[in-house]
Symmetry: C2
Subunit: 252 residues, 2 copies
């Protein structure tokens, strides 16, 4: 890796990437503190402690890891494009597995406590986000890692993939905020309006997640942080060219 | 106006703009039906009926009108850029006034009912969104409608203005979803999990707002829907050039 900084404002870029990582990690830690300290910790027995794994898994998987999986295209701009693609897909897969554990935890808790499933706006948005996230991952795999699609189809699908990825990150953050609100009103409604420490901590977590999302959107959409055309990609693309119809393949 | 369609896919663009308007208007109507039919209608007397103006004003002002104010740059691409700027600023001003009425309604209701203010994540996000929205409007006025800033400064601020505008729309939608969840849990917690009609209606409203946001983001960020360089803008820019330092002024 020769120079991980973007064309202009390399130190600003590095600072913003660092800030995003701090925001993401602090969000994961705050979720752990909220569930660990205020809500009695973690278990896998269908109890409220099993439910507590749900927020932790979703913030870690569907927010932090999903965000970082997108960010690798900006951070590792001088690495071989194929390696970055593999890293992007692998972090997404890890995010997906952790998210599924989080979803199983909440369904398991509901089943044992005889609480109905999928009635709230949080659950509607969450199910939609996870289903679309799975679809996005499979489509990404087919279009960009396996040479199934033609170069033209890949180039056409690329902006859709990038747009949907960013929308899914925003939806994951929005759904997390709905979950925070739902959880606080279920558990501490009488003291929430008195600025109970648990409420202030959870609100702060919500604001940090919003800041993480805004920073990620900035880093991903700003033109000057975009990867320049990579000469290495041209040589790698030959491999795809022999397997698909003409033209150079597109990469996010 | 010669041709309001973008360079490519004019009918798709028109269809998507139409769909966004249907989604936005149905969202406003559903909010009205929710507050009017299920929550006892509207008043201005500090009662719960005054509170009911809050969701209606915020969905109408901070979501629908804010979205449409952004969209004018894509829809009226062949109109004089100065007229479009004025329309953009005017719709935003209308959105701001309606939003302030909505905010006053909820504070007035809280004061009369002795409910504490600004303790929930919904209120934290809402206050942040409204304050930043005001700032964005004033900055837009100074930079793009009055020739206070230099052409260089306008060109530098333009991508920040566009990015912040889109973020504010997303924040407004996210905050609305938090408000929907909060309101349902305050009012119908026992029946929400039984798929009470009010809950299903409000959840549907939330999903429509998400779709409105996704569609707006698509229409605004997609390269082929962007306005081409407008010859009329060049002649208009002379007016600014005489008042500010060299270079042509930037326009969103």
């Amino acid at each position: 890796m020769e120079d991980p900084a973007p064309r202009h404002g390399g130190s600003v870029f590095a600072g913003l990437v660092g800030a995003s990582q701090v925001l993401g990690l602090v969000s994961v830690v705050l979720t752990g503190v909220w569930m660990g300290h205020f809500r009695g910790g973690f278990a896998w027995d269908g109890s409220a402690q099993e439910f507590n794994l749900h927020p932790l898994c979703m913030v870690l998987g569907l927010v932090f890891l999903q965000g970082d999986a997108i960010l690798v295209y900006r951070v590792f701009r001088n690495e071989a494009r194929k390696s970055v693609k593999l890293l992007h897909g692998t972090i997404h897969l890890l995010a997906l597995i952790i998210s599924i554990v989080g979803i199983v935890a909440v369904f398991d808790f509901h089943r044992k406590a005889q609480i109905p499933d999928v009635y709230s706006l949080h659950s509607w948005c969450g199910i939609a986000t996870l289903v679309l996230f799975c679809l996005q991952w499979v489509m990404g795999l087919l279009f960009f890692l396996f040479p199934v699609a033609s170069a033209w189809l890949r180039a056409t699908y690329l902006p859709v993939h990038v747009f949907c990825g960013l929308m899914l990150l925003v939806m994951a953050i929005g759904t997390s905020l709905l979950g925070i609100t739902e959880n606080l009103l279920f558990r501490i409604m009488p003291t929430y309006s008195q600025f109970a420490p648990e409420g202030v901590l959870a609100n702060t977590l919500g604001i940090l997640l919003v800041l993480f999302g805004v920073l990620l959107c900035h880093l991903i959409t700003r033109e000057e942080y975009r990867s320049p055309p990579n000469p290495e990609e041209e040589s790698l693309s030959v491999h795809f060219k022999t397997l698909t119809e003409g033209g150079s393949p597109a990469s996010p």
